[in-house]
Assembly symmetry: C2
Homo-oligomer: 350 residues x 2
């Protein structure tokens, strides 16, 4: 997957063939399981990949923030899940505008947010789908029990412009199936219809069969590119990794030390499966032992040869965080640079 | 420094009065010491702050990457230090273009880079200033001894389009003064004139008097905003911190847990003086114990009250990394939003 030309580095380089293979493999698995595939745009933040996924059969898109959803609505996508609490007057106004041009679902774990969401939907003259966010073990957002989930679902159902659509959790730990199954059963007993049970997470994607039912929908993000973390989790091999950071060796001040021009502003400071900050494919015995903003410190193994000026490719620890640092992705197909994609939702954390 | 209006969060908010005070206080110290002040643009990446610093007396700007220097040259700044090795054909072509419109210095620690730099300068028909990069303890780039530094200086001096300008190090540890003093003495003995001895680092800025001479120039970046790291280093107090991240409480799933809408894509994953990821000013007993891409996990102290919807301000661990995530900075003056600045060099890591 190394491109045929010297790139201006650091650069985020996508292998188009691998992207296509990663998208298709997961869509086939969802088709096999009868599971709706609603991939996350937070990883790639590009319109092009979202379009490829939907063309292959994805049921819609997941956006972590309203800003990402706005970019995707601008590009014509009309089935969007905003998997983050929409809080505050400015956000609610934007939600009204978004609803006017797309079918939107969002999540809640707190009844105090419902009046604002209902008003935002009423202003758009359109129903807002609501999934009750369930904490099945992560300890982040979400209600803590099936009973609480169904209680909140009932409150959602009482608002005229809100439509209770089901339950959502992240990730999908072993206990999630029991939690969600119980919530679905209790909801049914109360006459509520949880049409959607949405779970997610690339690391556990190949165990999705264990959560269907109750799951009806799966959300994955990293699956499109993979990275050191998902390879370490066993969800992919290094041969599946479809995005690398191209970097250049800029200094060799000691026999066992090389400095690359890709630091935390090119790779992110995210932790990986070990204490390193990325894998240099051309120096398999090496470790990126530290980052500054624009430098990677590489400790070389005895067999590693990295002369000054050499271009290398780095598998990042966490590709979602790395992509968000770039305005564009360089697209390589069959070893040749085929173009570039704008990271259209880069920085859209609002 | 809290703004008077509810912001769309997450947002990077600058207190203009504090920026002015931070710039002026350091310029006064440099004036007192007879030290040239060449502040780094990597921290703020804005034209507006660069202009304020130069108007107050800065001798020029430091840019960590060529891309930052190009943005500053576009804005009319004509005295630029690129404090990073310029390596590769694409970069050398850009260096030629940059030289045609600004006075440029860069650094080297390897003689193999000199022919390329000389050709780039020749193509511009203009001399390129070169500082020999010295490793005085960091273990990053740089030559390892005064003798090696002077040896390389002599090689630089032999190239027609290169002008040996002196020595540079980062940061400025206790041994740096002896290293640089020795390099200056040895260079003088060989008939070389190190006009510039450039040192840097915000954490040690208030000990600059201990390195003058041999230092003639000081580079600081974080000083304009400060952050948890420079406060922990004793270079500033919390009352000097001029940039905070505005965030909103979006979930309160447990009595001691709050989730904010500012994660690693809003704060960066940079480590701080403890294991936390930022200081929530409105909840002094709290700790940001974890980040996901769009969530901050806050563990609250017994006195902390953070209801859902509340806007808070976070002092980031490392402000340079945080700023690079934003397209604009919200500028607040006397508690009112006075406008915004474009982060013009955001993402310019090339």
């Amino acid at each position: 997957m190394a491109p045929d030309v010297e790139l201006d580095t650091p650069a985020a380089v996508v292998d188009l063939g691998r992207v296509r293979a990663n998208l298709a493999r997961w869509q086939a698995e969802c088709d096999r399981l009868g599971l709706a595939n609603r991939p996350h745009v937070k990883t790639h933040k590009t319109v092009e990949i979202a379009r490829m996924a939907v063309e292959l059969g994805a049921s819609g898109l997941t956006c972590q923030k309203l800003g990402e959803a706005e970019v995707m609505a601008d590009a014509g996508f009309d089935d969007l899940l905003v998997s983050f609490p929409v809080v505050g007057g400015g956000k609610l106004g934007r939600l009204t505008s978004l609803l006017a041009r797309a079918n939107v679902r969002t999540i809640v774990d707190d009844a105090t947010l419902l009046p604002g969401l209902d008003s935002a939907a009423s202003a758009a003259g359109k129903a807002l789908g609501v999934l009750v966010d369930c904490d099945t073990g992560l300890g982040r957002t979400g209600v803590g029990s099936p009973a609480d989930a169904v209680e909140l679902a009932g409150v959602v159902d009482g608002y005229p412009a809100l439509r209770f659509d089901g339950f959502l959790t992240y990730p999908s730990p072993p206990g999630a199936a029991a939690f969600l199954g119980e919530a679905v059963a209790q909801a049914g007993a109360r006459g509520l219809e949880p049409a959607v049970v949405s779970v997610g997470g690339t690391p556990s994607m190949w165990e999705a069969d264990q959560i269907v039912p109750p799951a009806t929908e799966y959300r994955v993000g990293t699956y499109v590119f993979h990275d050191r973390n998902t390879v370490a989790a066993g969800a992919a091999t290094l041969d599946d990794v479809a995005l690398t950071i191209a970097a250049t060796v800029v200094s060799r001040p000691a026999p066992d030390r090389a400095l690359l021009d890709a630091g935390s502003k090119a790779l992110s400071y995210d932790r990986g499966p070990d204490d390193g900050y990325g894998l240099v494919l051309e120096a398999p015995g090496s470790a990126i032992v530290n980052l500054n903003e624009e430098h990677a410190y590489v400790t070389l193994g005895p067999e590693d040869v990295l002369e000054v000026g050499r271009q290398v490719r780095i598998v990042p620890n966490h590709v979602c965080a790395a992509v968000n640092l770039y305005d564009e992705l360089v697209v390589v197909e069959n070893g040749r640079v085929a173009g570039s994609w704008k990271v259209a939702a880069r920085g859209r954390s609002r």
